[in-house]
Symmetry: C2
Subunit: 266 residues, 2 copies
């Protein structure tokens, strides 16, 4: 999958590109089942909300075959190789649960703010690709983006260790208000299998989920290989230290695995 000139222009101007229905339900169904199973486990990679509900599972591509295939999927990897003009590696891999009734807030932040401060990543030549595993609706804690906010570089931030169970470098109210006055706030919604790519400096957040509808999203963070991190302050299953370029799998690899897996289960 290559980005069109129009998509490249949109990404440059707005800071994100949205691809509704990028993966078929047949592909996503397996990921959803596997994600639910992983989020129930007690491994160190699974972080919980203050309430005890699952918040995020790290590094599933290192211990689960379907998520390994997703991390190597050409529909995600190739656009980033195109954008960065070089090979990419997996810097971070999260399944964010945003559980029904209990999924808590992710405060306003830039991803690159954390990668720079905590991991010593030289430049914002890395970005998150969000893959919706559940339907993302306006009501179940969607990702909110401030268009054009990636044009402001890395903004001043405070290290919030209190609001949620996960420490994050967050922006203050004045900054968010100012940026939203320029760009507004959008919350892309869509069916499972939709994909959202957004610039490492794009300001975003997501509200708590008070509905009965879970809202799981996989965040695959790909970084240009030449831009690999230089500080190792976080565990290697949070900020990876293996900078080997990703070799994409075939476009139908996930589908084939999903079909084989389903047959095996029956």
């Amino acid at each position: 999958m290559r980005l069109t000139n129009e998509q490249l222009k949109l990404f440059d101007e707005q800071g994100f590109v949205f691809f509704p229905n990028c993966f078929a339900e047949e592909e996503v169904e397996l990921l959803r089942i596997e994600a639910d199973a992983i989020l129930k486990t007690d491994r160190q990679e699974v972080w919980r909300e203050k309430s005890g509900a699952p918040r995020t599972a790290f590094a599933a591509h290192t211990f689960n075959e379907s998520f390994r295939l997703l991390a190597h999927h050409p529909r995600l990897v190739e656009p980033l190789r195109q954008l960065f003009g070089e090979e990419v590696y997996v810097h971070q891999y999260k399944i964010n649960a945003k559980a029904a009734f209990e999924g808590d807030v992710w405060q306003w932040h830039q991803d690159y703010g954390t990668w720079a401060r905590d991991d010593g990543m030289p430049l914002p030549r890395a970005m998150n690709i969000a893959v919706f595993l559940d339907e993302v609706m306006a009501i179940n804690g969607p990702l909110m983006l401030i268009p054009m906010s990636h044009k402001h570089g890395t903004l001043a931030a405070g290290h919030d260790k209190l609001t949620t169970s996960y420490p994050l470098w967050t922006l203050d109210k004045e900054t968010v208000t100012r940026l939203a006055a320029d760009g507004g706030i959008v919350a892309p919604t869509g069916k499972p299998g939709s994909v959202l790519m957004f610039h490492g400096n794009l300001v975003h957040a997501s509200p708590p989920n008070i509905t009965p509808y879970p809202r799981k999203i996989v965040y695959l963070t790909l970084c240009a290989v030449s831009n690999h991190i230089t500080k190792f302050t976080r565990p290697d299953w949070i900020a990876h230290r293996d900078f080997t370029p990703i070799k994409p799998v075939d476009d139908d690899a996930l589908l084939a695995y999903a079909r084989a897996h389903r047959v095996a289960a029956e």
Copy 2:
């Protein structure tokens, strides 16, 4: 303003009726300014979030002329007299702030659950009328309703005194999940001046507001006079004890006051 047969049918089936742009911006602007001023005061009627931001202001109709006119407005009072077939009085009056960045959750609940348990209100012959003072958007903590949930009577509830600064009789996850499987969840959005009337047993909630956009709503609770409360466990500025029937003002009374007020202020 009288409800049409179609609106009456909708209310019976769905449990709510929405009136976009029921009040003109000229009328709402004054209410918004007055609400902001009231929410900044230290009076006992103003309750705060755990963060200190204003959460709700009670009984503004008893000490503020523009909110007194709103409580007596024929566009709000007459549909309720029509529905209940008798005179109505003000049971409760709230300005819910849902402040930018800090407005906290209102958990899933039925209003009548609280009026029955705390105030000894005999029947669900009372309801809330929501008047939007700010634009209610999908992203700034809109009111979420479960259509048709009013058909289930008064559901079992627990008294939640911990989640927020305001004690509330709330429903459990299983109940909300079951009701939403039937009716879905809707979150009416609209410009300032829009009005939402909903049955006292309609299950609803609202999520925290993480955006820079405040989302103030006035909740006018009108009760059939013959159905007045019988227990006085809450202060009389929360659950009123004056059961005098409301005598509506003229339809243009709020507009005239807003215009006079603006002239006076200039």
